[in-house]
Amino acid sequence: MAAGQPEITLAVWGADGPAVVGSTLSVHVGARSRSGGSLAGQTVIVRGAAGHEVGSGKLGGNIWPGTLALWWTSVEVPVPAEPGLHVWHASVGTSHFAFSVAAVPAPAHTLTVTVFNTTNAEIEPLPGTHVRAGHHAATTDESGGAVLALPPGRHTVEAWKQGYGSVKGIAVVGSDTEISLVTEVIADKDPQYVREHWR
């Protein structure tokens, strides 16, 4: 392994946002030693941005599936009451890894976004499109639909899929609401290159 690599290195996973303000987030923290030796029983500490400890745990006796020597545990992390992005650091000894989550107000309604592909003047549902309203994101299913759980208010909704143009719309969410967006295949920047899905 290269010089400059700490004795212990970490991974943090499961911090999938957004999280509702005041809720608890359960994250996995894994650690491996340079030699691959056991780290079972070592203490994991999670600290907030100001350096205060917000959670801790001890690495368990098993390695994470698919890894060679990653000892891991789960740590409960309280999500602050203020909406917005929050950053924490997980540490084992002097090694650390930063992770984050966006805190949002409790959702009140669902917004169903349906995305259509209008390339070649057709109107077809577009699966696999990533749809986002602020911190909230989802991906469309086979029928081109994705459901976002949102707080009330006006939301800018953005939709994007690889190879297609990025599009935006506005949704006013006061109750369960539906909107649709349309997009088209975009040619590469090189205008001569014709994608196979143009006819």
Partner: protein
């Protein structure tokens, strides 16, 4: 004859170098006109990159296929389209070359159909500079063994030509590489014809193994060696950034190392068409695939390919660049990963200065970094033979450990683990925010978080050659004093003056070259058609 030659001099009317589209049609045409023909190919099989291709050839100007589909076309229209001043693909073209192409394209198509027995699909859409439907796509070759990459239509355009050439008596010498050309001099020392060439037997990895053999060409030598993309010194004449780390399309099947250009330049040939290579348009570069050395974006290798022992891995194709980040050798992101496959601003960022005075040119490797969740979403299999774990694919339990793993011939300095960790920590925050202030990736969607982690080679790859040997409308190679070199012809990607991707110009100038070689050769020697008996 297939793959051996004895050490006695060989002698033919026409000698063709390179068994790709340009070489195969040249050989077939010359033999059809009665010449004795030897075709020399360095691989253990013919086909060149044509057999790997999509098999869509720009051939028009009023073909029978166009007429059958009710498309009106003419040589004039074909010419006008491909010299368009408002397009980078048209404005720099040598109009003498395009004129000859326009006037011979339909005849080439009919010859391929009638003599070469190529079977065609319905015409494809008009693309690039074509204003009417011209692009003719072949059917894939019916025998899977001949396809090289299963399902590629290109097999159906070169295998019928190979079959027809063999049946007509073209001699094909495999696993031999042309190393030089010989140009006669008269008593006063003035330069004369190209009358001979030197070839050498090569092994399965194109390394010379035997004695140099001399081959006489009474009527002409036709070069169809496929271009210069794999010759680092040569390609850097056009773009100094293209240092050794950049691999090229099809390099393990049909190396194109500028052998034709270099040999012809040594006997006085001029190179030409620089703007066609440097105008940042069309297929000079490709964004690439992941996890394998020869990583053109358009082709996943097959374990059934007869040369898979050279490829070693099929490669992985990302369907959604939300599943990964791309970093430089330093572990730092450099561009919106969702960029298209031919985005020259993306290439410029990937090839920009690394900041290391020890490496001023070239940008170094580009690595795709992703996690176990991305593997699940994409359905990738990240074990060999899908990926090449011998330097082009790495995995590790943590991001920092991954950085330490990345050691291979082109990663000239270690990737700092802290850099890669900082990149991933920051990118994951972009996912929470839903915006990427660094590179404006649209709707950053997935964190790179769940172990194990992966690094896959995703360095841009060199593709088409447009600059090359100067030819005239008869496909004769032109010297630096603007005069044809007697007895020397060129076609396809080793010839230049025409920024047209692919097969169409290779076929058309192969057809033109063979006709010119045979007619000028016969006029010079006063001979009629010869049998192939005086070959070997």
């Amino acid at each position: 004859m297939s793959s051996s030659a004895n050490n006695e001099d060989l002698s033919y009317d026409v000698v063709v170098v390179g068994g790709g589209p340009g070489g195969l049609i040249a050989a077939l045409t010359a033999r059809h006109l009665g010449a004795s023909v030897l075709l020399i190919e360095q691989n253990f099989d013919v086909g060149g990159r044509g057999v790997l291709s999509g098999g869509g050839a720009y051939l028009g100007g009023g073909t029978s296929l166009q007429r059958a589909e009710g498309i009106e076309d003419s040589p004039e229209r074909l010419f006008q389209d491909w010299v368009r001043a408002d397009s980078l693909l048209g404005r720099y073209n040598d109009r003498e070359v395009v004129w000859a192409y326009a006037n011979n394209s339909a005849a080439t198509f009919e010859f391929m159909t009638e003599v070469g027995n190529v079977k065609w699909r319905p015409l494809g859409a008009a693309d690039r500079l074509d204003t009417v439907k011209r692009r003719a796509f072949s059917l894939e070759w019916e025998e899977p063994a001949g396809q090289v990459v299963p399902g590629q239509f290109g097999s159906g355009i070169v295998r019928p030509l190979e079959k027809a050439a063999r049946e007509l008596g073209v001699h094909i010498l495999l696993k031999h590489r042309m190393v030089s050309l010989h140009r006669d001099r008269d008593a006063q020392g003035a330069k004369g014809r190209v009358s001979k060439l030197a070839i050498v037997e090569v092994d399965d990895y194109f390394t010379p193994t035997g004695e140099v053999i001399s081959v006489k060409a009474r009527q002409g030598v036709i070069l169809a060696t496929g271009g210069h993309s794999g010759n680092v010194g040569f390609r850097r004449m056009f773009d100094p950034r293209l240092t050794e780390e950049y691999q090229y399309t099809g390099q393990n099947w049909a190396p194109k190392t500028a052998d034709g250009e270099v040999a012809a330049m040594a006997v006085g040939a001029s190179i030409w068409g620089f703007a066609g290579q440097t105008n940042e348009s069309d297929g000079q570069l490709s964004k690439g695939l992941m996890g394998t050395r020869s990583n053109y974006h358009g082709l996943l290798w097959s374990v059934d390919s007869p040369h898979f022992f050279r490829e070693k891995a099929t490669g992985l194709k990302p369907s959604d660049y939300q599943n990964l980040v791309l970093v430089r050798e330093s572990g730092v992101r450099f561009y919106d990963e969702t960029a298209g496959v031919r985005d020259y601003d993306y290439f410029a960022a990937a090839m920009s200065w690394s900041g290391d005075p020890e490496k001023l040119n070239g940008g170094g490797p580009i690595w795709a970094i992703f996690d176990a969740e991305a593997v699940e979403r994409e359905g990738w299999n990240v074990t060999p033979p899908n990926v090449d774990t011998d330097g082009f694919f790495f995995s590790a339990d943590t991001i920092e450990e991954l950085a330490g793993q990345i050691q291979m011939e082109y990663q000239w300095r270690p990737m700092p683990p802290g850099n890669l960790r900082a990149t991933i920590e920051r990118y994951n925050r972009c996912v929470d925010e839903g915006v990427d202030p660094d590179h404006q990736k649209p709707t950053p969607r997935f964190k790179i978080q769940r172990p194990p982690f992966y690094a896959a080679w995703h360095t841009p790859v060199v593709h088409d050659s447009y600059a090359g040997l100067r030819i005239n409308g008869s496909a004769q190679v032109i010297d630096t004093e603007e005069a044809p070199i007697p007895g020397l012809f060129a076609t396809g990607d080793c010839a230049s003056g025409f920024t047209q991707h692919g097969l169409g110009r290779a076929f058309t100038f192969g057809y033109i070259a063979a006709r010119a070689a045979v007619s000028t050769g016969q006029a010079r020697t006063g001979s009629g058609p010869t049998s192939n008996k005086d070959g070997v």
